[in-house]
């Protein structure tokens, strides 16, 4: 081998080493965040933490039950509102691949996906909070529901596109009406993909804070009424993390641990299920 070739091979090796090193650096911030939140948060979590509301500043102890219950309720309401809409819209787009309306509809979903979450918060404020005259958990659910839609629609559309058209043709040839072919044949076939889409969209919005700032607003007390302001985990973390009080920081750490692990777990479960059914999202 002459010197020139050796130089080129060395250069290639060097480049490969550099690329591998740069690529794997990304694991560091993730590990750092997980380890740090785990170390700080795990000591704060106990039965009291999960069943009590926050104490006023200066008193140690207290918990985040208001945020836990609030997060679950807000996300649940958002899911109930947006899943039927999102799945049906996904069906519409997968059934109508061409056409003017489906082009515009698809474009709208793309636009929706790119809208910053804070802008959704502003808009829902004017659509629901202002006309009603007060912050409410319901408006927060609407904001989160809007953010879920693009993910739901995309995953449903992509899943249903993979189902062989012969299934649909067989159903229609047997004389089944169109809606039964879709709802009893096509959708059950793509069920696993649709369900992972739902879980993925829940994972995406469970940690959203910005759209809740002007809608659900937050509440230091336990509230289960969707028409009243409600606390949620991300809101609690934001408010308490930026406060100057150590007791509140402690609550924020515990809440951050619960939120982070819920979101990561949802993502991992989604990954495992999609791998098992071999569905590409």
């Amino acid at each position: 081998m002459n010197v020139h070739v050796k130089y080129r091979v060395a250069k290639s090796r060097l480049a490969q080493g550099l690329i591998v090193a740069l690529a794997f650096i990304i694991t560091l911030p993730l590990l750092a965040i997980i380890i740090f939140i785990f170390r700080e948060g795990i000591t704060k979590i106990n039965w009291n933490f999960l069943t009590h509301i926050p104490k006023p500043v200066g008193e140690p102890g207290g918990g985040i039950v208001n945020a836990l219950v609030g997060s679950i309720l807000i996300v649940l309401a958002a899911t109930i509102m947006s899943v039927p809409l999102g799945v049906l819209c996904g069906i519409y787009l997968s059934e109508n691949k061409t056409g003017r309306l489906s082009y515009w509809s698809r474009l709208s979903v793309d636009v929706l996906q790119g809208i910053p979450s804070i802008v959704i918060g502003i808009v829902v404020y004017f659509w629901i909070v202002k006309p009603i005259g007060g912050f409410s958990a319901f408006s927060g659910s609407v904001a989160l529901g809007i953010m879920m839609l693009p993910i739901l629609i995309r995953s449903t559309e992509e899943t249903l596109k993979l189902i062989p058209p012969s299934l649909k043709e067989a159903g229609l040839a047997l004389g089944l009406p169109y809606h039964k072919v879709i709802l009893r044949v096509i959708v059950p076939c793509g069920m696993s993909g649709i369900i992972s889409g739902i879980m993925l969209s829940i994972a995406r919005i469970a940690g959203e804070t910005a759209p809740l700032l002007f809608t659900a607003f937050g509440n230091p007390y336990l509230n289960t009424n969707l028409t009243k302001p409600m606390q949620s985990l991300p809101l609690l973390i934001f408010n308490y993390a930026t406060s100057p009080y150590d007791e509140w920081h402690d609550l924020a750490w515990g809440a951050a641990l619960i939120l982070l692990f819920t979101v990561l777990l949802l993502n991992i479960i989604t990954k495992l299920t999609t791998r098992r059914w071999n569905v590409q999202l």
Binding site: R8, I19, A23, I33, F36, S105, I115, S117, H179, A210
Partner: protein, 304 residues
């Protein structure tokens, strides 16, 4: 007797046909609803920012002073803050996201190690932004502060640079996973031709893979930029939230999204509120345009 059975059958099939039309129609209505939703969002933003457009005019965007107490509204500090944080984050993220894309797309498309890296990248995208913000505030801010002391600038700790660091981590997954897809689309005959001419792996990447995927990688950067521009919580928690014009990249500042998050519920008169919404409108238009250009490029690239 047979007649009634037949008529029952006919009325049954009528019902089915009606159900079928109803189903088709509701699908179309829901498809149209997405368009209505997006237009509604745009319409609301425009209508609510009309008071500010009328009283403040175009100079609003170039005004350098933001002082709601004295009714002076200039959005330039926030525009500058947004551009600085986003582009700085983009520049910081480029080596990492391209390295991941090349590694996963070219060096090792399969195998447990690349699966591991891909999952890590997905989880980076999944961590809620408020958690990035909290971590940044407690861990990153002191680090940046000691760095600033070494550099001899005012050691705020919080500021545009810190926000960019966090943002860089948050946007890496978008450019990386898209870049990976694009790199995998490079036809192998092209690469094999280069190898058979005696090119090394690095030379193949530099003179075949990267030129071929140029536009796709650019689109990935655009989507990352769109994310960075609209990111709110993590930035709000570490940028320092001052309405003064930032003097350096280490100074505290504010972005369009963070000023909305901080001041929206405090806005006590209509022009103030409307000025904030106009910021939201600008943010909406900019991110939508950037996203659309990015997606257009990807579509053209994958169709070719």
């Amino acid at each position: 007797m047979g007649g009634t059975r037949a008529s029952k059958k006919i009325s049954g099939s009528y019902k089915q046909i009606r159900a079928e039309t109803l189903f088709r129609r509701s699908l179309i209505i829901i498809g149209a609803a997405m368009l209505v939703l997006v237009l509604g969002i745009l319409f609301t933003l425009i209508v609510e920012s009309i008071p500010s457009m009328k009283t403040l005019g175009l100079k609003y965007l170039w005004g350098r002073v933001w002082d709601p107490v004295n009714n002076i509204y200039g959005a330039f500090p926030f525009l500058l803050g947004t551009l600085l944080t986003s582009f700085l984050a983009l520049i910081i993220s480029i080596p990492f996201s391209f390295a991941i894309a090349i590694y996963l797309g070219e060096y090792r498309p399969r195998g447990w190690l690349s699966n591991f890296l891909r999952n890590i990248v997905d989880l980076i995208a999944a961590v809620p932004s408020v958690i990035y913000g909290f971590w940044g505030l407690i861990v990153l801010v002191p680090i940046v502060r000691s760095l600033e002391m070494k550099l001899g600038v005012l050691p705020y700790g919080i500021g545009i640079f810190t926000a960019s660091l966090i943002l860089a981590v948050m946007i890496i997954p978008y450019a990386a996973s898209l870049g990976r897809e694009m790199i995998r689309l490079v036809p192998s005959p092209l690469k094999e031709a280069a190898y058979s001419l005696g090119a090394t792996r690095y030379e193949v990447i530099r003179s075949v893979v990267l030129p071929f995927t140029k536009s796709g990688l650019f689109a990935g950067l655009l989507l990352s930029l769109g994310r960075a521009l609209g990111e709110t919580m993590a930035v709000t928690m570490v940028i320092g939230n001052t309405s003064l014009l930032p003097t350096s990249i280490f100074a505290p500042g504010n972005t369009m999204a963070s000023v909305i998050a901080n001041e929206f519920t405090e806005a006590d008169h209509s022009i103030y509120l409307s000025a904030l919404i106009e910021l939201g409108l600008v943010l909406f238009l900019v991110t939508v345009v950037i996203n659309m250009i990015g997606k257009r490029i990807i579509k053209r690239f994958t169709n070719e």
